[in-house]
Each structure stands twice: as C-alpha cells, then as structure tokens.
C-alpha cells in the first residue's frame, strides 16, 4: 500500500536523513521524504501499515525531534 502524508520539517538535510532512516525500517518497501513539497510517501506492507507508521514516526523523531507527520 502506498500512502502520502503531509509533514513538517524545517531543514533539507534532516529530510534526507529521515528518508534514509525510514527506508531502513522493516516492512517499508519504499519511502520518499520531499522537503520542497513537505510530503512523505510510504510504501509498506498492507497488514501492518499502522504499526509501520508508528515506527516511521519514531525513526523520524529520532533524526529530527521537531518534525511532524500528519496522519
């Protein structure tokens, strides 16, 4: 399943690091964090999507405590 989320992240490098971190999460087949449009695209297993999103959020907060993901 592919889903798109609005995000808030202030620095371009953090966005790049978030993308990298999210891609490493188990169950995420593809991820894209777009600093310019402030959107995050996650492609992940259907069944565990919500659980994966929790992990995504945790990983992003780790990289950039100020970031927000609107789910």
């Amino acid at each position: 399943m592919k889903k798109r989320f609005k995000i808030e992240v202030d620095c371009a490098n953090c966005a790049a690091k978030m993308e990298e971190a999210v891609k490493k999460i188990d169950g995420v087949s593809d991820a894209n964090v777009n600093f310019m449009t402030q959107k995050m695209k996650i492609e992940a297993d259907d069944g565990r999507f919500d659980a994966i999103m929790d992990e995504v959020e945790k990983a992003c907060k780790k990289v950039e405590p100020d970031c927000q993901i609107f789910r």
Partner: protein
C-alpha cells in the same frame, strides 16, 4: 481575507530573537561600561561568573537548539545541526568568548528564521504557479437548489454549476450554457477556449463570463487536475544526479569537518600550545560543518525549474528529466501528428479542359459521397469551402475500384476519381502530375479529364520555427521518423530543416532506429529525446533518454508513458523547456560551487585564525539564504523566453 505572512511558530521565534537581542545588547554595553570604569575585574573576577548573564539570552534564543542537541546525543545523532551548534557555542563559552558564543547562537537563529521564511515564501510562490486545484464544487440538486461541496465528494453524473470566474472542479461535459474558459493553468495557452453544450471540459480550467452547467464524467481523483498535481508533486522526488551527488557529499562532509575540528583542537595544542586559541578555531569548524545550505540548494533550483515549466504548460515528471533535457543533443521526432497535423488537406487543385477549381472539387466530392476515407473527407471539406451551398450533390451508385479509386454515377454523369492507373484504365486523356509530398487524385467526368487534386498531410505552421529554435537552444541534430513513403518523408523533412529523415519505418523499426542513435551517444553526456503524440509510440517514448508526449491533455496512456508532457500541441514549448532546463542546471551548479566554495574558504581562513565564528555562521545560514534567492531567479519568465 489577507493571509498572514508569518505562522504562529514563526512569530514566537521572532519574539524570542528580539528579546534575546535586546538583553544581549544590554549585557554587551554593560560589560563595556564596567570595563571602562575598571570595575569589571573587581566585581566579576571569575570568567565563569562573567558567563552567567550571557546564558540568559543564550537560552532564550537557543533553548530549542540545546534541547534538540541533547535529544540528539541520546539518540547518538552526533552530526546533527543542533548538536554541532551546541558544541560550538559551548566551546566558545569554555574559552571565555562569552559574548561571541551568545552572538553566534543569536545570529544562527536569525539566519534560520530568514531561511525558513524564504523557503516557505518560495515554496508558496512556486505552488501558486500550479494553483489549479479547485476548492469547492456547486452541486445542483434536482429540486433546483445548489449546494457547495468538496470536489472529492462529486460523483459521476452529478450536475455542477460553474459560475463566472470559478474553477472547473472535475472533468465533465457541458450540459447547458456557453462560455470562454481559460486553460492557461493547464496548457500555458493564454487564449481562452469556447465551450458549448456537449463539449468536454477539463478540471482546472477557469470559467470566463458565462455560467455553465456540466455533468461530471470523472471523479475528482481521476480528473485531469488531481492527476497533474500528483505528478508535479512527485516530480521532485525523482532526484537529479546533481542532487544525489550533493546528498552523498553531505553525508561525508559533516563527519570529515567534525573530525577536522577535533584534530584542530588537539594536535596544534600539543605541538605549539595555546589550547584555547585552537579550541576556538575548532568551534568555527563545527559551525561550518552544518550541511543544510548544500542540501537545500539543489532541490530548490529544480523545484523552481519544474514550477516554471508547468507554468508554460509543460509537465516534467522528475528533476532527473530536467537535468537530461539540459544535455539534449539529439531530438528524434515522429512525423504524423507531431510535426504535421495528422489530417489530410487539399493543398492544390490543377484544373484542366476549362474546368474551374471549384468544379473539380465539387465533382470529386459528389463522387466520394459519404466515404469516411481520410482523402474523401479532405476533398469534401475543400469542396465545402470552395463554394456555393448546395453545389455538392450525392451519387446514384458507386463502384469501388480497389487500388485505383472509384467510379460513381451522379446527376451530372459518370465520374471517375482515382490515381493515374485509374485514368489509364478508363482511357481518359490526362496530364500526369508529380509531387513527392502529396497524394494526387485525378478527376474525370464522362470521359473528360477535369483536373488533379493534390492532397497532403499539412505540416504544423510553427514546426519549422520550433526546430530552428531547438537548434538555437543547443540541439545538434533533429531526426524524423515516419512510416510514410520515402518521398513524402524527405519533402517534409527538407521543408522543416530536419537533419536526417528515416522513412518507411514500421513501429519496431522506430525503436531500432532510436536504439541505434542511443548507441552513438552512449558514454557521452549527450542525450536523446523522442517526441511523439503518445498514441502508438509508447515503446519509443520509453526507450529514449527523455520521452516527450505532445498534445496529450486528457490522454492517460500518453501521460503515463512520457517523461515530459506538453499539454497543448505546441512544438515551440520544446525549445522553451530546453532553456528552462539549462537555466535550472546552471543555477543548481552555481549554488553548489558557491556553497562549497564559501565553506572551504572559511574553513581554511578559520584554521589559520583569520575567520571567526561570525564568518562561520555566514558560511552556514548566509550562504543558504543567497542560494535561495538565486534559485528564485527561476521564477522570472523573461530569462528563458526569447
């Protein structure tokens, strides 16, 4: 309602910066006065006690940075911007540069504030260019009442009312009313288009003066407007090579500079002494090591380029394609429907034996009757234009002579319409004409030759100009591929200024030809684009470095297959995109060279003590600001138009 330019968080940030700045100034002046009076060392003898007052503005303005830095330490994010700033300022405090430590944090936050503001601004102005999303739809109920609903809630078959000046929310068909609609947001074409009952209408267009009623034919998410928005948003995700390079660079740059700082703090201190000096210099390194300006500079330029292109009615489906367009060397184009209009037109009539042109056309048209063959259609159209209403009469009976033409019995006699073979077989004395680019139809009535009609696919008027313009924009060769006869291909090719024409190609022949051209370019930086109408050239579109589909607004297959979509069918958009691409890449490169250059320069100066922390903060946030401003040049239309 006027939109506030600052968000709530930004206003809070501004208050924090201003209050910290005031306190900071009071402290600096206070310290100076006390120093003048010779009392400083008396009252505040200890360096650590002198530091305490400066911690107040430091925490007011930099509290969030410190907090993030501490969180970062817990998560082992050692190369985080906050952490680096925190470390650098702590270092400055440690060596007794209290006011400087505080000022650097202040300046850093001011810079971040402006950077944030500028990015938001530019994001906003680029989004405005693509502001085609409808905000609401007026649903007409059966009882005549009108309800304003979200475009997402429109169902197929709903009747919607479009008032003057409103955006069309979903694709549909006009049920009632007539109006001029502005398609500029979709096609970049500024001349409005007239729509009447039963015309198709695309979402994202802006209604003119008339009120329209339309029947929704697609839901919002399948409508043109939402598909386009999604594509443009995804476009910046497909990263250009430059962007990937800079992301990789940043990954190495920060750790290297941080270790450089560590080395600078330790090694010279041991070798030459004065550890405080070296620690201070190491702190400037830490400030410069933040990679944000670099990472921001490139995507911002490409975002601007993609925005500029969509304003001209060109959808670029990825930053990488814009980058490839800037290296365009060969343009391969399909003929029919791309360089030509794809419809047959009578270009010339040569009457004989005292017949008039109109006579020839009308006679032929009568014989062709209701045939749907493209040639018949073109003759009927020409006859209709040639004159006198009612002149075209039908036939009584018609005989199709395969590979020759047809014989029709009309009110005015037996008419033969066909090629030269037909004339010879009918024993009609005629003048054989020759024209490589045309199909020639001979017309005779009751055995008497009336004349010849020249029919050809008409070349788009702007095609020759567009090709010349592509060459001016840096394209080295233009190749035309066609399934048409060699003679026709060559004639069109030479008229348009095409370098190489390859005719009589079957669809897989086109792929083979493109492969062959790609082979010649492989390993070089020269790229190849294929232009097609997207109807049956999807394999070639996919094979080329950049596939450009023309005139494909509303054609899903073409939008899927192509990398760049020209929404109207204007060839002149292609040289424009090449220029936009070149400018985008130039700006991105300028930004990279500038950002890396300034950082390295300040690093070098910082190492020998010629650049202090102030300069370092400039190298971080100041450079980012300048890159943003530079990228905004993309929004200036005149710079890439002729």
């Amino acid at each position: 309602m006027k939109k506030s330019t600052l968000s709530k968080a930004q206003r809070r940030e501004r208050t924090r910066i201003v209050s910290a700045l005031v306190i900071y100034l009071v402290l600096v002046i206070g310290e100076h006065v006390l120093d003048r009076m010779g009392m400083l060392n008396g009252i505040l003898a200890n360096q650590w006690i002198q530091m305490i007052p400066y911690l107040v503005p430091y925490f007011i303005v930099g509290g969030s940075v410190v907090k993030n830095a501490l969180i970062g330490i817990r998560h082992l994010q050692m190369f985080d911007e906050s952490f680096l700033m925190f470390l650098a300022t702590i270092g400055a405090f440690a060596v007794g540069e209290n006011s400087e430590a505080c000022a650097v944090m202040l300046f850093y936050q001011v810079g971040e504030f402006f950077q944030d503001y500028a990015v938001n601004k530019s994001r906003g102005s680029i989004k405005d260019l693509m502001e085609i999303a409808p905000e609401y739809a007026n649903l007409l109920h059966e009882d005549g009442s009108i309800e304003t609903i979200d475009p997402d809630d429109v169902e197929i078959g709903n009747i919607l009312v479009i008032r003057p000046g409103e955006k069309i929310p979903v694709d549909g068909v006009v049920e009632e009313g007539e109006s001029l609609v502005n398609t500029a947001a979709l096609t970049g074409e500024s001349v409005p288009r007239t729509v009447r009952k039963n015309d198709e209408i695309l979402s994202g267009c802006v209604n003119g003066e008339g009120t329209l009623r339309i029947r929704a034919s697609k839901e919002y998410e399948d409508s043109t407007v939402s598909r386009i928005l999604e594509m443009v948003e995804d476009a910046t995700s497909k990263k250009s090579r430059t962007e990937n390079f800079i992301t990789r660079f940043a990954r190495w740059y920060t750790p290297i500079v941080v270790f450089g700082a560590l080395a600078l703090a330790i090694i010279p201190s041991i070798v030459v002494g004065h550890p405080l000096t070296w620690i201070y210099r190491a702190c400037t390194f830490l400030v410069i090591s933040c990679p944000c300006a670099l990472v921001l500079a490139v995507p911002l330029s490409f975002f601007g380029g993609i925005g500029a292109a969509s304003r001209e009615g060109v959808l670029v489906k990825g930053s990488n394609y814009l980058e490839l367009m800037s290296q365009l060397d060969t343009v391969v184009s399909d003929k029919t429907g791309t360089l030509t209009k794809g419809e047959f037109t009578v270009t010339k009539v040569v009457p004989a034996n005292n017949a008039s042109e109109a006579d020839v056309l009308r006679t032929a048209a009568a014989a062709e009757g209701l045939s749907t063959h493209p040639i018949a259609v073109s003759i009927r159209r020409a006859a209709g234009k040639a004159g006198k209403a009612g002149a075209v009469t039908g036939y009584e009976s018609v005989e199709n002579v395969s590979g020759r033409g047809l014989l029709a019995k009309t009110e005015n006699g037996l008419v033969a319409v066909g090629n030269a073979k037909m004339m010879r077989e009918q024993n009609i004395a005629f003048t054989e004409e020759s024209d490589d680019a045309s199909t020639i139809v001979y017309v005779a009535r009751d055995g008497k030759y009336l004349g010849a009609i020249f029919i050809s696919d008409t070349v788009k008027e702007e095609a020759a100009d567009a090709i010349a313009d592509m060459k001016r924009a840096g394209v080295r060769q233009v190749v035309m591929l066609t399934g048409d006869r060699e003679a026709v291909g060559q004639a069109v090719g030479s008229r348009l200024g095409i370098d190489t024409t390859c005719a009589e190609l079957l669809p897989d022949g086109k792929v083979a030809k493109v492969e062959e051209l790609l082979q010649q370019e492989s390993g070089t930086k020269r790229k190849l684009a294929f232009i097609g109408d997207g109807i049956n050239d999807a394999p070639v579109l996919a094979r080329a470095d950049v596939g450009i589909a023309m005139g494909s607004l509303g054609s899903d297959a073409a939008i899927e297959a192509a990398d760049i979509v020209i929404m109207d069918d204007k060839l002149k958009r292609i040289p424009l995109v090449i220029r936009i691409a070149r400018k985008t890449v130039a700006i991105a490169n300028e930004n990279i060279v500038f950002a890396i250059g300034v950082k390295l320069l300040i690093l070098a100066l910082g190492a020998v003590g010629l650049a202090g922390m102030w300069a370092a903060v400039f190298a971080d946030v100041g450079v980012a600001m300048i890159c943003i401003i530079n990228s905004m040049r993309m929004l200036n239309r005149n710079s890439f138009r002729l």
